[in-house]
Symmetry: C2
Subunit: 337 residues, 2 copies
DNA sequence: CACCTTTCTGTAAACGTTTACTGCGATCGC
DNA sequence: GCGATCGCAGTAAACGTTTACAGAAAGGTG
């Protein structure tokens, strides 16, 4: 594991200057004979160019960072799976950051862009405050944010419209005759939490149903916490006939709780989730869910970043992915084959 | 987004040499007055050290790569989740590689270590051949392999003992009185596939049961493919009373198929999987599974690599994580609360 | 054959750090 | 009061590339 060969080693062996070696290796016009000598020397030595030195000179690292709260979350996972091949195809490596949804850590990731170890960053903050926005605009490398930022923020942005998404689900549940539609949300100080809370309240009214705060419960965006919240809700409002869950993990928790409580899904309680994670389709019963286009958002973010890396000066773009309702058994029952 | 300040900028503003700036920033003994001037200049300029330049000089990148087939696989995901914090705590960033289990890509990752963009690599190859072993031993940076490599290979290695794992499950099923134990495996040319195939054949014989090749079916290590394999198996051997699945994804596929076929789990067919992924505990019914310590293997691999990075010359270590049987409802039914 | 192009190669500087070495002024011991 | 010692800071080299520039060799033209 001794020190590998450098262009100097090659230059000596081939009897040429390091400039010639560099030119040959970069395919610049060189005399046939020199090319051959350099290439065979490089080959014999098993030369691999040092990317650090190259980066220092070229000011490009061919690395891109992706920062999310927790890679264990299926939504982020889907995004990583989509982002990775796009970047790879463009010659970039992927550096992963887990921030645990900690604001200080997120800010630190933005600050660390000054270290120039990546050419750009895709970030998906759960909460977006003043500090974020300032740090984003001061960032020393291009940033793409997944999740809605305030209009006018000078940053590339991929969004979805979870308000419309909530309404799609509510209308669907209502169209099935449900009137007592419970809502299980995550923390209200998060971007999706607050948006979905508003959307539920508005949506219920637009359907001509009374807003009943006994039908609303807050937990967290995880299966276990969701399940607990559903338990509380169920004991407070035993007459509910539908559940709108702010994400699919909560909805899966709801399925567990309902099953153990002996309620049939969807006959007694129809359940809808959000995010359309892979598990939604294979859960039992399969889960009706509002797709927020996680895969597409990931892909778009990667493309937006690549575009920006190719053209640093264009105006920031905002791309919105429309939500789509995926109707499955948890609201309409098993289709008869 | 202009070019950020460098130590030269700071040196000018503070009226000192770049050497002094560097010394101050690295906490080397310096006169009180100089320290103050440099620090305030750095502060005003919002200086962030360039990690590329630092890496070039120091020959360390503070990055580590993790290469696996597909981040979507829950087992690898668990490992990433475990590896990341360990590395982060030690000051390393994580670079992710998905190789799609493609041997050429894996070899390429090993070769790319010569680019020196990472200080080390954790790799989990599905198939391990001659080419791998040669590339591993020729690698220009420390490598830790998760998955059994042939004895004597000079590389740090974290293993599990899936043969013992399979036997644990078979003995458990036999102890429940099952005699027609089917086996659904993944491709035989993979390391786990071949190990588990041998283990099943041996295990069955040791239990005094006849080896019936009609009870064995090969698919792939995914839910959908597993489900198909289980369907085939079920039509070929309708009398089976237990299913040993080579991993949990296959087992989840088996649960789907059995449910749709109207077989009760575990009353009619007991099901056991391997890997003990998160989903196993929350599936319905919850899945008996052989834990191969994915989280622990990830953690150990990270620790092994860190140790090696601190001491490049020690002999390669082999660490084995023993399998543990997690008994759940898919074999013994719901425990009465 | 002298001159001008053209083609190729080598020298050297640059990217932003760290660090060995040198030199300077001050302090110490005698 | 003088040499030795010490603390500190500056100069310069190095890490491994890329690339502007200059120079040499070769070819073409009159």
């Amino acid at each position: 594991m001794s020190d590998g060969p450098t262009i100097t080693t090659i230059a000596e062996r081939a009897g040429v200057s390091i400039a010639s070696v560099s030119r040959v290796l970069n395919g610049l016009p060189t005399r046939e004979d020199t090319v051959r000598r350099v290439l065979s020397a490089a080959d014999e030595l098993g030369y691999v160019p040092n990317s650090v030195a190259r980066s220092l000179k070229s000011r490009r690292t061919n690395q891109v960072a992706f920062a999310m709260a927790d890679i264990g979350n299926p939504v982020y996972l889907t995004m990583v799976r989509e982002i990775q091949p796009v970047l790879k195809a463009a010659g970039y490596r992927l550096v992963l950051h887990s921030t645990d949804a900690d604001v200080a850590e997120e800010i630190d990731v933005l600050r660390s862009l000054g270290e120039r170890y990546v050419d750009g960053l895709i970030m998906i903050p759960l909460r977006i405050g003043e500090a974020h926005l300032k740090a984003v605009e001061a960032a020393r490398a291009p940033v793409v944010i997944i999740g809605s930022v305030p209009d006018g923020t000078r940053v590339d942005n991929v969004r979805t419209d979870s308000r419309t998404g909530v309404r799609l689900a509510l209308e669907h549940l209502r169209s099935l005759g449900r009137r007592r539609i419970g809502f299980v949300n995550g923390p209200l100080d998060t971007v999706p939490g607050s948006a979905r809370s508003t959307a539920y309240a508005e949506g219920i009214r637009e359907l001509g149903l009374p807003y009943d705060e006994n039908l609303v419960e807050i937990g967290d965006f995880y299966r276990a916490e969701g399940a607990q919240a559903v338990s509380r809700l169920l004991s407070r409002a035993p007459d509910l006939d539908a559940l709108m869950c702010a994400n699919d993990l909560i909805a899966l928790g709801a399925l567990d709780v309902l099953r153990r409580a002996g309620r049939r899904v969807p006959e007694d309680v129809a359940v809808a989730g959000m995010d359309d994670i892979d598990l939604a389709a294979v859960a039992w019963p399969s889960l009706t869910s509002v797709s927020l286009g996680s895969a597409e958002r990931g892909r778009l973010a990667a493309e937006l970043l690549l575009d920006r890396l190719g053209n640093g000066d264009r105006d920031p773009k905002v791309v919105t992915v429309p939500p789509r309702l995926m109707v499955r058994a948890s609201t309409v029952g098993e289709e008869t084959p």
